[in-house]
């Protein structure tokens, strides 16, 4: 009897919970009329998470509606990208993601990418710094390249996996210099950085925001900046940009780099997109957000609409073609209608 009662009660409660899970349709004319869900495609505590948890509370003040933030991680951000696409295009589900989706088709991670989304705001971008351990025998970019040419495939480069920042940056260097390296994959910055400090690997690329403290305290050496110009921080002012190291990089590194942005599904009504864009842009302009970017050495972008689209297209075109030429993928970007840079 009690056994039966337990089963009945368990299933009843489960049903009650299940009813709370459905999405009630709402009128789009008075957007926003309920709370908005923001899905962060990367884990709590990471770069994307930091940016989103800073800008969303600022944007919700202007929207007059709360943005409920959830981390929906996995698959280089493709899980969240797919999930938000499966939600209705009513502006109540935001995709908060980084630079990875434009590479999904090329790397076979999925068919849904930013082509299926409208950019609300591309907030900021990061810059990759080419770093080596403090006691490394390499003292300049040229040392590293020369050694890599002399010993093909021997240079141990730490990466955070296919499509991550070190991976994309080194694909570019390999293409420009015609070198070959040995990729050592780490789960993320948390395990990659110790390996660099201890000298377990020869070199890697670390985001500027994370690199500064290691360079300032002498735990790593910086050899170059993956950008058209040098960084403004005093710690990195002496580090040459890769364009200075090799003129073959010219034009490739301007406005290229990992970025963070908010997106809504294609088909979202125009006035909803406009409301969101305005709110996020206002949040972007606040001192709080600008100060945050400064603290983290992020380059504020504030791109919306067509500007955001063309920025993403450029990133996609350069990165996809370098990955293809470096032999990282057998799918040609041409087959995916990605124009050559």
């Amino acid at each position: 009897m009690k056994k039966l009662l337990s089963i009945v009660m368990a299933s009843l409660i489960s049903l009650v919970i299940a009813t709370g899970c459905n999405n009630t349709a709402s009128d789009s004319s008075s957007y926003p009329s309920k709370s908005i869900n923001g899905y962060i495609a990367w884990a709590a505590g990471g770069g994307t998470d930091n940016v989103m948890r800073t800008i969303c509370p600022l944007a919700q003040k202007d929207l007059g509606s709360t943005i409920v933030l959830t981390n929906k991680t996995g698959g280089t951000g493709s899980i969240a990208t797919k999930y938000v696409y499966s939600q209705p295009a009513d502006g109540y589900s935001l995709l908060l993601n980084a630079e990875n989706p434009p590479l999904y088709k090329l790397l076979g991670l999925g068919t849904i990418d930013y082509d299926n989304y409208i950019p609300v705001l591309v907030m900021a971008k990061n810059v990759g710094i080419l770093v080596v351990p403090a006691d490394s025998k390499y003292n300049s970019y040229q040392d590293l390249v020369d050694d890599a040419k002399a010993h093909p495939g021997k240079l141990n480069i730490a990466t955070t996996g296919v499509g991550g920042l070190p991976y994309s940056c080194f694909a570019l260097t390999c293409m420009v210099e015609g070198i070959d390296y040995n990729a050592i994959t780490y789960d993320g910055d948390g395990t990659l950085q110790p390996a660099l400090i201890s000298g377990e690997v020869d070199a890697s690329v670390v985001a500027q925001s994370a690199a500064i403290q290691y360079i300032a305290t002498g735990k790593m050496k910086a050899l170059g900046v993956y950008s058209g110009e040098r960084c403004e921080n005093k710690e990195l002012a002496d580090v040459p940009s890769l364009e200075e190291c090799n003129s073959a990089y010219e034009g490739m590194l301007d406005d290229w780099g990992p970025f963070y942005g908010a997106f809504v599904k294609k088909g979202t009504p125009d006035h909803v997109v406009k409301t969101l864009q305005d709110a996020f842009y206002k949040a972007y302009q606040t001192d709080t957000f600008q100060k945050f970017c400064e603290n983290l050495s992020l380059q504020p972008l504030g791109y919306t609409g067509d500007q955001a689209q063309s920025f993403i297209k450029k990133w996609q075109s350069i990165t996809c073609w370098t990955l293809y030429r470096a032999g990282a993928t057998s799918i040609s970007p041409a087959d995916l209608d990605i124009p050559e840079p």
């Binding site: 368990a10 021997k154 403290q213 735990k219």
Partner: protein, 510 residues
């Protein structure tokens, strides 16, 4: 060496900052209290609680926000043991090892003692971890950084010996579930090449099977089904005795201290956390404690003492790489670094140089949190004991619902609920046929570490086995770990033989 410590004790006065501010004391207390109760609910993890707090404390001052998060961290790691003792469901991964002897104690009517012990030992572990954080941060930070891929591999192999400790009679059954666990741990995108493995074309499996979901299924759901099957009766608890007698604590203090040190070091390693720390500590206890009050697995006090001191010591450990290098020691410190970044503070070597007072403020807050842990941990045990006495037709549905909520809330994914049910039924079948479920959980925890670090180590050696082997002789940590593994692997009888050989020799010389 001097340069390692130079300026280290500057800003020590900030150690007392949390004690002079009423708001900070209050928030730490609130945090510990919340943490204990959140941690006790399976699936609601510390990681999740702290990441929720980031948004919640966004507009606060840095210090109170940090105080609250440190409180929740300390309380939450401890709270996981509550459900482990009372329901045989670890509230957090770090409490898996506590179920082995904690739950048998509750079944014998000694849930009060089990929880009392887990409180005192957690506090001991917490203080040991803190002392190491205070005194040896730069040294341990260096050790953590120099732990190479090969060393993680060796550590994981050492942890594999646990399969023997966790098997209940049949080693082959334990091996079967352990290997199943390793296979489940490999589901998802390959961490090196991003190729999908064992996903059968299901996109939701790309991210892998979340370890906590499996844990909730194997322990929570399966326990509910198992109890339902046998119509188990609640056990009347002896609640007069809550404070464990002084003699138990004193007798086991060396074990607690060793487990704490072990937990602190494993916690300080960026690639491992409290879950592995407590399992290794349990294994250690089983090897060294000669005469436990009851056999291990049937309610040995030492079986609660070792994992509980280790997992709380891991907290202090996880702060070491965070403060000295800006590298998270576990998932919670990763979120803490993120939270502080939003507040404009970036933990790491630069902060240690420029604002050492910040380090001491954190140490002070952790110390205070540990004191509150003792208070809140020992009060309310009577009430918690009632959980075991609740009629089964009420508690079983509650377990099922908590399991559902817990597995859904990890990633807000309905798929995880299905997976939880799947592993729940699997765990139930395991239990019915005396297959240990703990070894499967162990397999899943170790799977990723074994897989990625083996490949990483070989990759670094340019895929030459000779280069890989030669690494053992140039890297002292690897050699030490290898010798330790060989020592553990030699059976006791062989060791006695070798020892007797030595004795005879020395006797002959005399």
């Amino acid at each position: 060496m001097a340069s390692l410590f130079s300026g280290y004790f500057a800003g020590f006065s900030s150690f007392f900052t949390p004690y002079t501010s009423i708001t900070m004391i209050l928030w730490i207390a609130v945090g510990v209290f919340l943490g204990i109760y959140l941690g006790a609910i399976p699936g609601l993890s510390v990681t999740m609680a702290v990441s929720l707090l980031i948004s919640f404390t966004f507009s606060w001052d840095t210090y109170p926000a940090l105080a609250l998060m440190i409180g929740v961290f300390t309380g939450g790691v401890y709270g996981g043991s509550r459900a482990a003792v009372l329901l045989n469901i670890p509230g957090a991964p770090a409490a898996v090892a506590t179920t082995f002897d904690g739950y048998p104690l509750a079944k014998k009517g000694e849930a009060g003692i089990a929880m009392g012990l887990s409180t005192t030992e957690s506090v001991i572990g917490g203080f040991v971890g803190l002392l190491c954080l205070m005194l040896f941060s730069p040294l341990i930070g260096r050790l953590a950084v120099n732990f190479s891929a090969r060393d993680y591999l060796l550590l994981a192999i050492m942890a594999l010996f646990l399969v023997g400790s966790l098997s209940k009679g049949s080693l082959s059954k334990a091996l079967i579930t352990a290997f199943l666990g390793v296979v489940v741990g490999m589901i998802g995108m390959d961490p090196v090449t991003a190729q999908p493995r064992l996903t059968f074309g299901i996109p939701n499996l790309l991210a892998g099977v979340n370890f906590v979901v499996v844990m909730i299924g194997l322990f929570g759901m399966s326990e509910a089904l198992y109890q339902l099957h046998y119509c188990m009766k609640p056990v009347k608890q002896k609640v007069q005795k809550i404070l464990p007698s002084w003699s138990i604590i004193k007798e086991n203090l060396p074990l607690a201290l060793r487990s704490s040190l072990l937990g602190m070091i494993v916690g300080a390693l960026p690639g491992t956390g409290g879950d592995i720390a407590s399992l290794i500590a349990y294994d250690h206890a089983k090897r060294v404690v000669k005469n436990p009050n009851r056999p291990f697995g049937e309610g040995a006090y030492a079986g609660v003492i070792a994992p509980e001191s280790a997992n709380n010591a891991a907290i202090g450990g996880s702060f070491i790489p965070m403060m000295t290098l800006g590298i998270p020691g576990d998932s919670v410190t990763a979120i803490l670094i993120g939270a502080l970044t939003i507040h404009g503070i970036r933990p790491g070597p630069l902060l240690m140089n420029d604002q050492p007072q910040f380090f001491w403020m954190i140490v002070g807050s952790l110390m205070l949190a540990n004191c509150f842990l003792l208070i809140f941990g020992l009060t309310g045990i009577r009430m918690f004991c009632k959980v075991v006495e609740v009629p089964k037709h009420i508690i079983i549905p509650v377990i099922v619902v908590l399991s559902i909520i817990g597995s859904y809330s990890i990633n807000n994914s309905v798929m995880d609920i299905y997976l939880m049910f799947f592993f729940g039924i699997l765990g139930y079948l395991f239990k019915m046929h005396d297959f240990p479920v703990a070894t499967m959980v162990l397999g899943i925890i170790l799977s990723g570490i074994l897989d990625t670090n083996w490949r990483r180590a070989m990759n670094i050696a340019h895929n030459h086995f000779g280069e890989f082997i030669s690494g053992f002789f140039t890297h002292p940590i690897s050699l030490l770990l290898l010798l330790l593994i060989i020592f553990v692997a030699i059976p006791k009888s062989k060791k006695q033989k070798i020892a007797s050989l030595f004795h005879r020799k020395s006797g002959a010389e005399a």
